[in-house]
Every structure is written in C-alpha cells, then in structure tokens.
C-alpha cells in the first residue's frame, strides 16, 4: 500500500499572543497562547483535492501554512510522501521547497509590486539554480503560456499593477507550478476575484491538476466553491476538524451540528428555496481560553450537559465520513483513532 501524499497527524500550532522585552527578561505576566490549530489529523492522497472549510479564525489557513512549513508547528507531524517534513534535515534532503507550493488569496498583494511578471515567475528557478539562463527563459515563457497568458511576450514585461485580478492570479499560478511541485496549497484562490473570472481560474487549477497530477489543498470559507472543486473536505472549528468526508456527501448530508449550521446559512441562488435557518447562539469564543469539553457545545443547538465534560473523538458516520460529535456515540461505539 502506498502512503498518502500528505499525512497530518495531531498537528498543533499555538501562537504567543503577548510577549515583550519585560516578559522575556523578567517573566512578567503570563504568556498567553492562541491555539490556532489544536490537534488536526487528515490525509491527502496523490492527485486528490482536499478542502478545508470553516469560519474566519478557525485555523484553516494556519493549518495549511503549517503543512507548507511556513509556520513552525508547535507539535505533531506532517508527512510528505511518507517522510516527516517537520524535521529540517528531511526537508533539505527532498528539497521540500521545490515540491510544495502556495497560491495565495489576494492577487493584488501576493506579487511583489517591484517585480515584472517575467522576473516573478522566474524567481523560483533562480533561487534553486535550475537550468541555464536560456533554459530558464524558455521554461518561464512556456509556463506563462500554460496558465493562459497568451502570448507570453504580451505579459512578461508588465508590472502586476498593469494586470487585472484574474491575470495576476494566473501569474501566481505560473510561479507556483514552474518548479513542477507535487503539492499545492490554494488559499482562497478565487475569493478576491469577480464572479465572472472566478470560474476561469478554478477551471485552470482543475486542468493543471489533471495534467500534472498535483495534489491540492483548497482552503476556503465558501462551501459552494469547495463542493465544486474538491474530492473530500474537512470542516474546522476553533482549531479542530469537526467533520471530514467526500465533498458532495458532507455538504448534502452534513452530520455535525456545526456543519449543518454552516450549510444552512449559506445562501442559495434559488429564491424559492426555503432553508431552515440554523440557530447558533453567540459568537465564536476566544481561541485563548477554550471552553471545556466539545468546543462547539456553547453554541450548539443540540448540546447536552454531557458535551461539556470531555472533548469527543471522531466517530464514523458512514461512507468514509466522520464527525466529532457525541451524537454518534450511541449509534456507533467504535471510535476512530485520535
């Protein structure tokens, strides 16, 4: 059996929320931790697209960036092709930075405004010293054209400020694929774009994934988009996964009360559609002082006293779908490994 492309095991990322000279010198005051990611485990198969969804502040972006090792995880492991890349020696050996790339959310800020398109797309080759100068030029031109910026000559001398949002996002994609990575993190790749061009960017990503066999981790707050793009999705709440499963299944038949609320709150185009508005109490709690037991319990419409006692594990709810909710304890006693 081949190992999955990426295997995340009990990943945690806690940020210090306050620290200054005096705290460091004299230990004045307690250091508080924001538990952005607090024990997340999932797998992404070769060539699969996996989606992470959740409200802002749920830790999905931090989780994604910890996968790419743009954050040093606090604990837990991330295995890439079966090797633990939290170990710097492993990262060096496999040349991790050529294997995993990122496409960022905001195309207006993700390209250095002082770089021309050509230089921006070429930089990864320069950094890793790949090919001769001439070879690099050819690769850059090919890549720029492969993301739909035709002909490359028309775009490569431009500064990003001269391009539209959609074109910029294509440039970012070109930079991400020029090293032929096997994994891409797409962090809200279309959320800043106008609806009419969004589809073309998503199509492009879809096509590249097919052609190059890349595994993609999509991060988005937009369930409709994830449903459209992903094979499987995971729903995050306050630093933990609460539900994982095949995309269509999770959204059409959510199991966890939080997923139900999310799906129920997402507006639909059909004006006749009468959705049952999910009633969630209050706001998301402070990720510094988490509630005891199930972290969703204080807002959960179905919470019982039992929920505040202990954090529930992931339960199988059928067909490759799992939910972190005590409701499924009765139906199915057997728990999945935590």
């Amino acid at each position: 059996m081949t190992s999955p492309k990426i295997e995340v095991d009990d990943l945690k990322k806690h940020f210090k929320s306050n620290e200054d000279l005096f705290t460091r010198l004299f230990g004045w005051g307690e250091i508080e931790y924001v538990k952005a990611v607090d024990g997340v485990s999932f797998e992404i198969e070769e060539g699969e697209s996996f989606g992470l969804a959740g409200e802002s502040g749920c830790g999905k972006t931090t989780c994604g960036k910890s996968l790419l090792h743009l954050h040093e995880p606090t604990s837990g492991t991330v295995s890439f092709d079966g090797q633990d890349i939290t170990d710097p020696a492993v990262r060096d050996e496999m040349d991790f930075r050529t294997e995993a790339q990122i496409i960022q959310q905001n195309p207006y800020e993700s390209i250095n405004p002082r770089y021309r398109v050509f230089d921006w797309v070429k930089e990864p080759l320069d950094v890793h010293g790949i090919g001769s100068e001439e070879e690099r030029e050819n690769t850059v031109i090919e890549t720029i054209e492969s993301v739909g910026l035709n002909p490359a000559e028309a775009y490569m001398h431009e500064y990003p400020s001269e391009l539209s949002g959609g074109e910029r996002q294509r440039v970012s994609i070109a930079r991400a694929i020029i090293l032929e990575p096997s994994f891409i993190l797409a962090d809200e790749p279309a959320s800043m774009l106008d609806v009419s061009v969004r589809a073309s960017i998503l199509d492009l990503l879809d096509r590249l994934q097919d052609e190059l066999g890349i595994s993609i981790l999509y991060i988005s707050h937009d369930l409709s988009l994830l449903k459209h793009m992903c094979d499987r999705i995971g729903i995050m709440y306050l630093g933990k996964l609460v539900e994982v499963g095949p995309a269509t299944q999770v959204i059409n038949d959510p199991q966890h009360p939080y997923t139900k609320a999310l799906v129920g709150s997402t507006p639909t185009i059909d004006p006749d559609d009468e959705r049952e508005a999910a009633e969630l109490k209050g706001d998301i709690p402070d990720p510094v002082n988490l509630p005891s037991g199930c972290r969703f319990a204080p807002r959960c419409p179905e919470a019982t006293d039992e929920c505040t006692v202990e954090e529930p594990p992931m339960y199988d709810t059928g067909d490759d779908q799992q939910a972190r909710c005590i409701l499924y304890d009765e139906e199915q006693k057997q728990t999945i490994s935590e």
Partner: protein, 309 residues
C-alpha cells in the same frame, strides 16, 4: 498613473538584462514624474542642482580666495565695505570678500548634507530592516537603542562629541550621522513590519528564498521610496545642524561654511551695520534646505498615494 505610461511604447528589452535595465528606467521615470508633478518639486530640483553646481565648481566660480584680505585704494584694510562691483557682496570685518566665502562655503553644506544623510540613512535602513524582519530579542534591543537615541537632545550631544573628537569636518559629519539614523530606523522598521505581512513575502518564503534574498531583493525595493524620502529629510537636517554647530563656534576652523560666516558676522556685531555680511549666508542655508524639503514633499506625495485625493 503607472510607470509604464512614461516609457516609449515600443521598449526593446533583452530578457537577460531586462531587470537591471528596467530598474534604471524606473528610476528615470520616477525622477521625471517627480519633476512633472508639481512646481514646488521643480523649484526644489532647480535650486538643488544650482547649489551642487556651485559646490563642484566653487574654486572656479569664486572671484577671490575666501581668506584673502583686500585693501582699499588708499591702502587701508577694506573693513566692512558695502557691496560694490569689486566685491559683489561687500567685505567682512577682516576685509575678506563675502561673495567668495559664500561660494566656497556651499561645498561644506552640500558635502556634509549628503554624506551625513547617506550614512545615517544607510545605518538606519539596515537597522530598521533587520529589527523588523527578525523581531524578538534583536528587535527589542535595537528599538531600545533607538529610544535612547531619541532621548538625547540633538545639538548638545553633537557639540559634546565634536568637542571630544575634535572639530574637523569629517567628525562633524560622522557625529551628525550618528544621531540622525534613528529617524529612518524607526520609519523603515514600521514600514518593514507592514511589508512583512504582505503575501508576497510569504510567497518568497514558499519558493525557498533565503532571508537575505527576502530582505534585500523583496522587502528593500518596496521600502526604497520611503528611504529616499527620509534621505531627503536627513540631508536637510544635516545641513541645518552643521550650520548650527558652526554658528555656535564649534565648527571646523579650517573650512569656510555658511554657519561659520554667520558666527563671525554675529560675534563682530555686524548685524547692526553690515547686512551684506549676515544675510547672504542665511538666505543660502534657507534656500538649500527648503529646496530639499520641497523635493521631499513631492516625493511624499508620490510614494504615498493614499494621501492624494
């Protein structure tokens, strides 16, 4: 308004040299934009260019040696003579030609102004870059040093140091730089802190760029306009502080400077009678400094588009 609008439509750029070439072009077009954008900036550039010209060609332009004592036809020392065709701006108490002193003095102001400012901004920018980029302990310590530098009253500090190390023009310049760096350090730091948050930096990390590359190839070019702006301010302050030091009598006794001219005029009581000895140096300081400030203001408008309408 983008940079591209100022370039000829058909720019031939060889791929390999495109980067260096384009940066030169950017520089040129920024300068052009600066010149075009408002009259204050134009005034500033013209005046500054004039002073630089005077400073460079001072020995040719000055009609007399600045220290030479002139005598009247009757052989007496030409003490405090009013302006005439011989002496365009009259003479000093010692019978020296004011106009020649004025011309020669431009060298000191321009030299001290630019060099001190360059050193100050060079130090400040690097401290700001490193402090903000690495954060943590390094940031704490560097920023406390900046705080302390802000706690030092400028002129007294400079005077004490100049006195200790000796009043020559290089020391004066170094001492001014030793304190002026704090402004650019603080401003660059806060700008880098904001640049650091931008996704392009993360993108550079994701492709495996080194810290050095990120700092100097990615962040620095984006901080550069601010650095240039603070350079302009530093030039202006350096010129004024050099003049103030000289006016207080702590200047280099071996070189002529506008501050020293005013010091001598003031201590000889010339402000009561010999306006021609007092006014020109002050006007020159004011003109030179304000030209730099005008350029700075124009730069500010260009580099900070948010504060345009």
């Amino acid at each position: 308004m983008s940079v591209k609008d100022h370039l000829p439509a058909n720019v031939e750029s060889k791929l390999t040299s495109s980067r260096a070439l384009s940066q030169i072009k950017d520089g040129v077009s920024t300068a052009y934009e600066l010149y075009r954008s408002d009259r204050l900036g134009q005034f500033g550039i013209v005046v500054l260019a004039a002073f630089v010209f005077i400073a460079v060609f001072a020995p040719i332009l000055a009609p007399y040696s600045p220290g030479a004592r002139h005598r009247r036809d009757d052989g007496s020392l030409a003490r405090l003579d009013a302006p005439s065709t011989d002496h365009l701006l009259g003479t000093t108490h010692h019978g020296q030609d004011v106009f020649s002193q004025l011309i020669v003095s431009a060298r000191v102001s321009v030299f001290v102004g630019f060099l001190a400012a360059f050193i100050a901004v060079f130090i400040g920018t690097n401290i700001g870059l490193i402090s903000a980029y690495y954060g943590g302990w390094i940031d704490d310590i560097l920023m406390r040093i900046v705080d302390i530098a802000y706690g030092l009253p400028f002129l007294p500090f400079v005077i004490v140091l100049v006195f200790i190390f000796g009043a020559n023009i290089v020391n004066i310049m170094l001492v001014i730089a030793a304190i002026l760096w704090r402004d650019s350090a603080r401003v660059v730091r806060s700008e880098v802190l904001s640049q650091k948050q931008r996704p392009y930096v993360e993108s550079a990390r994701a492709i495996g760029a080194s810290d050095f590359r990120i700092l100097y190839r990615h962040v620095f070019p984006n901080v550069l306009p601010l650095t240039v702006l603070y350079m302009a301010f530093a030039v202006a302050y350096a010129i004024m502080y050099e003049a103030s030091i000289a006016f207080l009598g702590f200047g280099d006794p071996n070189v002529y400077s506008w501050g020293r001219m005013m010091y001598q005029a003031y201590t000889h009581g010339a402000i009561r009678e010999a306006w021609w000895w007092v006014l020109p140096a002050g006007v020159c300081i004011m003109l030179l400094v304000s030209s730099v400030f005008f350029i700075g203001r124009t730069l500010e408008e260009i580099t900070n588009p948010e504060i345009r309408h």
